[in-house]
């Protein structure tokens, strides 16, 4: 949050610096008075002084300072009843331990993706947050504050990135053994770049070599590869898997080696992960699967 790339993050970083400066000054003053009270040579000695001292230091000063801080700070509260349409709406569903992402198109249809978020700079994105299992929390420190993702409730959260770049989003509420491994890269594009990217993401994949194996090994039961017969909805959508920056929700960079190792024993990389291991496949089959996945651009 100290390197803001979004409107909310910038406002809060600003708020932080003001408060931090105030904190340091107040701490120095109080400790200065304390040291003086212990060591000072000509200290005031009357009860009358003590009463005033307590009144000023303990009542008047904090009341005034805190009132000012509240006015300044609460002005930054988001207005949750606002009805204006955001520029973009993204449905984010948190699951142990990954993120289901779906972009709402102007016609209301959804483009499914997972574990990576793309946003246009300078536009307001609204996140529709849901959880299917336990409580998670959706947080992109560079862009703004966090919002809990609670089963049974739909929380809305808006962010407005200002700078382009690649940032990191995380789960901020402890959600189980792989809580630390539930992240997602956030790519902020220029608006035109975002439109291009979304159009690409919306396209389906073609059936190609390895697809049959993907189905016969059972992958398609959980994972969808749009445009093919793999239509599972349990795990992350893999249609454009190879174009992402990370695999396993921000846990590993995408590489043939990591994919191999992941297929053999996913829980080695991510404890308590829902995906079973595929050590039973022979090496040639795994190689074929890995190259199929790396082709899903």
């Amino acid at each position: 949050m100290l390197h803001p790339a979004g409107e909310d993050a910038a406002a809060v970083a600003n708020l932080f610096w003001v408060m931090a400066a105030g904190t340091v000054v107040i701490w120095l003053i109080v400790m200065g008075i304390t040291v003086y009270a212990v060591l000072g040579k000509k200290r005031p000695k009357t009860e009358r002084f003590a009463d005033r001292f307590i009144l000023v230091g303990g009542v008047a000063f904090p009341t005034v300072t805190l009132a000012a801080l509240l006015i300044f700070g609460l002005a930054l509260l988001p207005d949750w009843v606002r009805t204006d349409r955001p520029d973009l709406r993204v449905h984010v569903t948190a699951e142990q331990y990954w993120w289901r992402v779906a972009y709402e198109m102007p016609d209301g249809s959804l483009v499914n993706s997972a574990n990576e978020l793309h946003l246009p700079a300078g536009q307001t994105a609204e996140f529709v947050l849901n959880s299917t299992d336990v409580i998670h929390s959706f947080w992109i420190p560079n862009l703004g504050g966090k919002m809990d993702v609670i089963p049974g409730r739909t929380n809305l959260w808006r962010l407005r990135p200002t700078d382009t770049g690649v940032f990191r989003g995380v789960c901020a509420e402890f959600c189980g053994p792989s809580h630390a491994l539930m992240a997602f890269p956030v790519v902020v594009h220029e608006p035109s770049g975002f439109t291009t990217w979304l159009a690409g993401e919306a396209t389906a994949a073609e059936e190609r070599a390895g697809h049959a194996l993907f189905i016969s090994a059972g992958c398609g039961a959980c994972h969808a590869v749009r445009g093919t017969s793999a239509g599972g909805a349990v795990g992350p959508d893999l249609t454009h898997f190879a174009s992402r920056r990370t695999m396993a929700a921000g846990t590993l960079p995408i590489s043939a080696e990591n994919l191999q190792s992941w297929l053999i024993d996913p829980s080695h990389h991510k404890p308590d992960v829902r995906m079973p291991g595929y050590a039973s496949l022979d090496a040639a089959e795994r190689d074929a699967l890995v190259s199929y996945l790396l082709d899903l651009k």
Binding site: A50, I54, L66, A172, A180
Partner: protein, 828 residues
């Protein structure tokens, strides 16, 4: 003079601590307090070791020292043990140890209750801590948010729930004991406005425990019903809501912070005047601020839930309330500084720790002001910034003052001195180590590190900060261990310290080392610092010129005084060493522990042991009819040995206990209405309520049971104990009918508690009331037997007063429950 010597010997004999293996049956506050203290520090060291595991794991990125599963257990237990097994019990330990002396009492009013609380605490604590050695510790974080914690397999969550519920019993027992102690056991003449500040803080904190712990107990009950019987209070698929737990937990959890903080500040309020060598300034300011802090702390809980998607107006309100609590805190701090300024400081180790506490706590307070601003909290919530903030408040606001208190009271309790050099070394190591560990965490958090992550990548830029924190943690631990070593190292060759070694002005320093009975005689007090204001004070005490200078009848006695102006109203005979508290605690322990494993038979056996022990304890050890009506306590005062009603300590204890009990019931009702607010249709479509008929019948019978119980006390007082017995018997039948009627409502309408949160909460309310009616029936039976055996008579009727008092509360809860479950569905 020989008379006086014989008196002293008699006192010593009466108050002698049991020796050998019988020492474990002791109940005296000076012993129980020490045990409590030692246990609290043992648990603290355990939790500290867990913290060091955390710091080693985070020392380098991508560390594989411990597994994620183990790490979850480690941080969950670290938080749980520090909060429930150290921070709160240390308050109880210190208060049990020093409060009676401060008030001029010989012991607390219910020593056996202290012992019972201690054994509950020890058994429960060992059970909770021990779980990690079997890899089955709770692992969902110390606030146990469902659904993560409800869906977990294994018994970790059950251990947390049941183990801690058991320990909460100990906390509430101590709160009852200490509140009654402050209200009723002050030395004669010690008007409420002369009470040492520590006493005031104990009063406030005791009160807070009574209103804060019960919501958590209510939450625990709902939680365990969900885990054990699948009642879906927190399951969204069946009408539950995980946020209900968060509300109940934090309605407890925020006051909890002040329950920890205020008693430590109370120690500062005793230490600062001693070393400033003058009375505290702004006594009234401090008392009012303590009350204000206690009150406000119940209006802040939502600031732990800022990011759950609550409406802006709630955020604004709770932000403002959270800032407001800085005002009373500020007043207390400035009053201490003013005291120092007006006095002249004697440099000493306790004072050094006080100053360190101030420096550290103020940082925690100021970052608290920051996170109370909701938009800022959106960023730092659940990050290391919060970890830093909470450790600054808890270590600055609790641990440093407790260390100051240890250095200050060690000579009083142990009769020996601590090393000044060790103290200074320990202080600087702790101060430097602490800041090195926790100051960088603010930054780590703002750079995006969430709390409770077992690993992090090298590319995050958190590596160096985490390394600094880890090194600091070890320096901090070294400083802490140094002081502990200084406390426990053998000091056989050191000579005993002189009395009142710091020249303090308050009453606890009038005791001589080694007397478990406090002062030789109980003085009349007419100032806040009697040792300073009356130079002759100690001599009068020692020569037995005060009150209650003897123990002729061979009984342990202490004075009970009136609440406001401390006029003696009773010579209370307090409990003597007994195995019953330990047996009762062990029985109750069996209930909670075996429930975890679902071993129903041993659990039932435990319940029987518990009930038998408690009944025997009450039958033989309470409301005993004395051999004479009054006792000459000296100074021409003849004070009754038996009182009943609101003059007696027993009545107050019942009143206070039932206040807490009512709070728990109201927390359950809160659950009922919470479900109403989140469901558009309540009761939900397809599920009918329990109807109005049976609840109405139940309400009427419960009122009858109450009326008959109250009537029993009145007719007994009018000299008709036989009629009173009849009333109790009829009341027993009415209570039985009331209970059956209440159960008939949801039973006949076929409410299935596993189907939806609505029938589940109705049943939970019904079960709560049934348990209370059953307890009430047990009491009616007890009263009946007391009358029958002449243990209660028309003039000695404390039992009947207390039973009637119980029934005021039980009937109120019962009727309210009947009205809500029977009537409310017709309103919506």
């Amino acid at each position: 003079m020989t008379d006086k010597r014989a008196e002293t010997e008699q006192l010593a004999k009466v108050w002698d601590n049991p020796r050998g293996w019988r020492a474990l049956s002791d109940v005296n506050n000076s012993i129980i307090g020490l045990w409590y203290f030692a246990a609290a520090f043992a648990f603290m060291l355990f939790a500290g070791a867990l913290a060091l595991i955390i710091r080693v794991q985070l020392f380098v990125p991508d560390n594989t020292l411990v597994t994620s599963e183990f790490y979850s257990q480690v941080f969950t237990l670290h938080g749980t043990v520090m909060m429930f097994l150290f921070a709160v019990p240390i308050f109880e330990a210190v208060a049990i140890l020093i409060l009676p002396g401060m008030l001029g009492a010989r012991d607390l009013p219910f020593p056996r209750l202290s012992a019972f609380g201690f054994w509950c605490y020890l058994i429960g604590g060992v059970f909770v801590c021990g779980s990690i050695f079997f890899n089955s510790a709770p692992d969902a974080g110390w606030f146990m948010y469902p659904p993560l914690s409800t869906e977990q397999s294994g018994i970790g969550a059950d251990i947390w729930l049941l183990g801690l519920s058991f320990i909460e019993v100990a906390s509430i027992a101590a709160a009852v004991e200490l509140i009654v102690g402050v209200l009723k056991c002050r030395a004669p003449g010690m008007h409420i406005n002369l009470t040492p500040l520590y006493g005031w803080y104990v009063l406030v904190v005791g009160g807070m425990i009574l209103f804060a712990f019960p919501p958590l107990i209510a939450g625990d009950i709902l939680f365990e019903l969900e885990r054990l019987l699948d009642w879906p209070f927190f399951d969204v698929t069946r009408g539950g809501d995980p946020l209900l737990w968060q509300h109940l937990f934090w309605i407890f959890g925020h006051p909890e912070v002040y329950i920890i903080f205020l008693p430590a500040i109370a120690l500062l309020a005793m230490i600062v005047p001693t070393f400033a060598q003058r009375e505290i300034t702004g006594y009234s300011w401090i008392v009012l601020s303590a009350l204000g802090t206690g009150f406000l702390s119940f209006g802040l809980w939502v600031h732990h839930m800022f990011t759950t998607g609550l409406p802006s107006v709630s955020l604004g309100f709770f932000s403002a309330a959270s800032e407001a609590v800085a005002v009373p805190t500020g007043i207390q701090i400035f009053a201490f500084i003013a005291t120092v300024m007006l006095g002249s400081v004697v440099r000493s180790v306790p004072m050094l720790f006080c100053l360190g506490a101030l420096a550290v706590f103020i940082i925690g307070g100021l970052t608290g002001v920051m996170v109370a601003v909701a938009p800022f909290d959106f960023q730092v919530h659940d990050t290391y910034f919060i970890v830093a903030h909470l450790h600054y408040t808890l270590i600055g606001g609790m641990l440093f003052p407790v260390m100051a208190g240890i250095c200050y009271y060690y000579p009083l309790i142990m009769g020996k001195e601590l090393s000044r050099a060790y103290g200074i070394w320990s202080f600087w190591l702790m101060l430097i180590g602490f800041n090195m560990a926790f100051l960088p965490m603010h930054l780590t958090g703002m750079l995006g590190m969430p709390r409770r992550v077992f690993t992090y990548g090298a590319d995050r830029g958190w590596t160096e900060l985490n390394m600094i924190s880890s090194v600091g943690a070890f320096i901090f631990a070294a400083g802490f261990l140094l002081l502990i070593w200084d406390c426990v190292r053998p000091k056989r060759h050191q000579k005993q310290v002189r009395r009142n070694v710091w020249n303090a002005g308050t009453l606890e320093w009038a005791a001589r080392f080694g007397n478990s009975w406090g002062m030789r005689s109980i003085p009349e007090v007419n100032s806040r610092y009697p040792l300073w204001d009356d130079k002759d004070f100690l001599r009068k005490i020692d020569e037995g010129e005060g009150l209650l200078a003897d123990a002729k009848e061979g009984r342990r006695e202490t004075l009970v005084t009136s609440v406001l102006d401390a006029q003696p109203i009773q010579v209370l005979r307090v409990g003597t060493p007994s195995w019953l508290p330990m047996i009762a605690a062990a029985g109750l322990g069996c209930v909670f522990i075996f429930m975890t494993f679902k071993w129903w038979l041993p659990m039932g056996l435990g319940a029987v042991i518990f009930l038998s022990a408690v009944l025997r304890w009450l039958w033989t050890g309470s409301a005993e009819i004395p051999e004479k009506e009054t006792k000459d306590i000296g100074g021409g005062k003849h004070i009754p040995l038996y009182v009943s009603g609101y003059k007696s300590t027993g009545w107050w204890a019942m009143f206070i206990t039932m206040t807490g009990d009512l709070t728990a019931f109201l927390a359950l009702l809160f659950g009922y209405f919470f479900f109403w607010t989140i469901h558009p249709d309540f009761p939900p479509p397809g599920i009918d309520g329990p109807g109005w008929f049976w609840p109405a019948i139940a309400g009427v019978f419960i009122l009858c049971a109450w009326g008959l119980t109250l009537g029993a006390r009145l007719v007994n007082a009018a000299g008709r104990p036989g009629l009173a017995r009849l009333f109790l018997a009829l009341g027993w039948l009415a209570a039985l009918a009331g209970g059956l009627g209440l159960m008939a409502g949801p039973w006949t309408t076929g409410l299935d508690p596993t189907a939806h949160a609505y029938p589940a909460i109705v049943w939970a309310l019904v079960i709560w009331i049934l348990a209370h009616l059953a307890t009430g029936m047990l009491m009616q039976g007890y009263g009946f037997a007391r009358l029958l055996y002449g243990k209660a008579t028309p003039t000695h009727d404390a039992d009947l007063w207390n039973i009637a008092l119980y029934w005021h509360f039980a009937a109120f809860s019962g009727v309210l429950a009947a009205v809500v479950i029977g009537g409310f569905p017709y309103l919506t």
